[in-house]
Structure formats: C-alpha cells, structure tokens
Symmetry: C2
DNA sequence: TTTACTGTACCGGCTGGACGGTCTAGACTA
DNA sequence: TAGTCTAGACCGTCCAGCCGGTACAGTAAA
C-alpha cells in the first residue's frame, strides 16, 4: 500500500514539514533533503509533488492565502472589533494560520518577490478592515504596527509557547493590558 | 598605493558593503565574493580583515553596539521624551545607525545567536528607557511594538527613501499623526 | 483469468554549480 | 628585508534539480 488515504497525504505532509523547518531552524536549514526527510518522503517523492523549491514556496503562499481569507472573515465579524481582533490574534497562539504566517515571514526577507507580494496584499486587507472599524487612519496604522511588532518578534526570536501575564523583555507580552491600551486609543478623541 | 588613509579604509568599506548587500539583496546574496567585489577589495583582502564570515558578522554586531550606545544617549536626553524619540527614529531615515540595524535584522532570522542576542540587549535597553519616561509598562510595550513594526516593515519590504506625509499600505507612514497617537497614549489615564 | 500495457506515486544516486575558506605569489611601504 | 596588505586560483562541502528505476493500481484485450 503506497498510499494511505486514512492519514495526511504526502503533499500536505511536505508542506507541513517545510513550515516546521522554516520556523524552527530557519530558511537555510529548510533544504529539499531536510524537508523530504522531515515529511517522511524521499527527495524524489517531494519533487514529484513540487517541481522545484520555488514551487514549494508557491505552495506555501497558496496555503497562506487560503487561511488568510478565513481570517479576514473571522475578523470582520468579531464582536470585539477588528482592531482588538488583530492585536489579540497577532500574539502567536500556535494555530495553523500562525505557523504558516511565521513560516512565510521567514521567507520574506529573501529575494522572494512572491512571498513579499502576498504579505503586502494581506496587510492591505487587514488595514482596510481595521480602518473601517476604527475610522482614524493614524490609529489604525498604530494598531497594525503593534500587531506587526508582535508577529515579527515572534518570527525572529523564539516563539513563546504560552503567553504569560507578565511582560518579558522581548517575547512574551501581557496581551490584556495591551488590548486595554488599544481600546483607549480607539476611543481617544480624533486629531 | 595599497592603503589610502585619506579615504575610508578597506575594513570599513567591507563592513559598509556587507550592510548594503544585506539590505538590498538579502543574506543569501551577501556572499564573501559579492561583499568583496562591492567593497572594491579582493576576496583575499576581505579575509585578511575578517578571518571568516562569522567574524564579518561579529564586526557588524560590534558596529551595531557602538552606534546603539550613541542612540541610547541621544534618546535619554531628547526633549520630546524617549517614547516619541523611539517612534520618530524607528522610521527609516537612512542614517548610518538605521542601515546597520536593518542589515543586522536581516541576519537575525538565521541561526545567528550572536545577532539575536545583540538585539535582545538593545531591545531591553530601549524598553527600560521608554518605561522610565512613560511609567506604564503596557503603554511602553505598545510604543516599543509600534517602533518594532516600523523597523521590521522597513527591513522586510522596501526601505522608503523619503517618508511621505501620506500613509501607504505597507511602507511609508505618516509619522506626525503616529506621534500624535503616541502622545495621546502617553497622557492617557493609567489602567 | 492471465497477460500486457499505462499512469500514478515514490525512491535515491548523481552532477554541476555556488559558496566558504585556504594557500601561495606578489606588491607596496618603512 | 621585514611587515603589511592584495590578489585570485584552488579545494571541499553542500544543495537544487535531474533521471533512471521500482511498486502498484487500473484497464482491457486474449
């Protein structure tokens, strides 16, 4: 039995392994051999599903896009509002989307135009949603930047497994008080 | 004339070229050959000054540390206060320090523990300065994150040559209104 | 119901090129 | 002529992509 439909198919296992390696060991370590090994597939098998490393990245971007659409929808109808939703979900929580975002972010500093463009698009959508919620462009921008800062810190430095209720120097942040700050910003008088 | 003391010596030209390549083309493109060529130096010449690529990175980190000390001093005695100083200077302005920070940031996602540690230290110092200025940990954290977001966006996406007064989707940000938001945050009532 | 053929899924050795680092020959200065 | 620095050929390693092969499932003619 070469194929076992009852477990994740090779293609998605490969994508998953690629993400894991990007997150844990960085882009340099995410070689085709390493990805294949981590996915429990041979190199040839990997290349059967993804013609090249570029195609592998494209696969990741595609997955990112799909998950982003879901996120946009959740954000738009969150009872707390888009701004708080953005900051709240920017703290790495270990969801599938989080992992895919962080993995893709690791790729974004390379010459990878594809990944960069995908992020631009996502950012624009998020910004529009927050702006529509908040109204003030400057505050919307500030909220976005707070979320970005959280995500980037998570991507560059270790990913805190659990978010403590005390603010460490880099990683962990007290989300509750941060959300309170965002709340005050949102209700502050316009310029 | 192998050495011309009247112009930047080879060592600093190499460091400069390394930064430029990191910023413009990413870490992958910053090979020893490329750096040497960009610095107008042979590969052997480069390796005379920096024994290895690791030593080259260490040189960058050292430069970063020195420039950071200057920045801390400026920050501590800025009339606008530390928080506004941080956000204001987080917008890429093309200064030597900016370029060094962004270059080092490009290196930080690798397995480069040295660079990572240097950033942790810098972050901690900045945070302490802002906290001393602002008082509220949550707001200080929010200010830091806004600055981080600005820097990371600059590092990952293109560096805007000039900061426009209109907020584009990703890169350019209206600093003035952002500073106003920070100001309101700083004067907001504590939780 | 056996045999022959086709397409899908996967394997792993190989190669060519790129890169980091070494080595030696030499040029300029003091 | 000793010291300082440059130059670039060269070597070993690593990696992406290629390619010849294997295993098996489905189909269909005989």
């Amino acid at each position: 039995m070469t194929t076992q439909p009852s477990q994740p198919p090779a293609r998605s296992r490969v994508l998953q392994a690629y993400e894991d390696l990007l997150i844990n060991d960085g882009p340099r370590a995410a070689t085709l051999d390493a990805v294949a090994a981590a996915a429990g597939v041979s190199k040839g098998g990997l290349l059967y599903h993804f013609k090249s490393k570029e195609a592998l990245t494209a696969g990741l971007v595609e997955k990112l896009g799909e998950l982003a659409e879901v996120d946009f929808a959740l954000m738009a109808k969150d009872p707390d509002g888009c701004a708080k939703y953005y900051v709240r979900t920017s703290v790495f929580g270990g969801t599938t989307f989080d992992r895919t975002v962080v993995a893709a972010m690791r790729l974004a500093q390379g010459d990878d135009t594809t990944v960069r463009a995908a992020f631009s698009k996502m950012h624009e959508r998020w910004y529009q949603l927050i702006l529509g919620d908040i109204g003030d462009p400057a505050i919307a921008r500030a909220v976005m930047l707070i979320g970005d800062g959280l995500y980037y810190n998570a991507a560059l430095f270790g990913l805190p497994a659990h978010v403590g209720n005390d603010a460490g120097p880099d990683g962990s942040v007290d989300v509750q008080s941060l959300l309170a700050v965002v709340e005050r910003m949102g209700s502050a008088p316009r310029t």
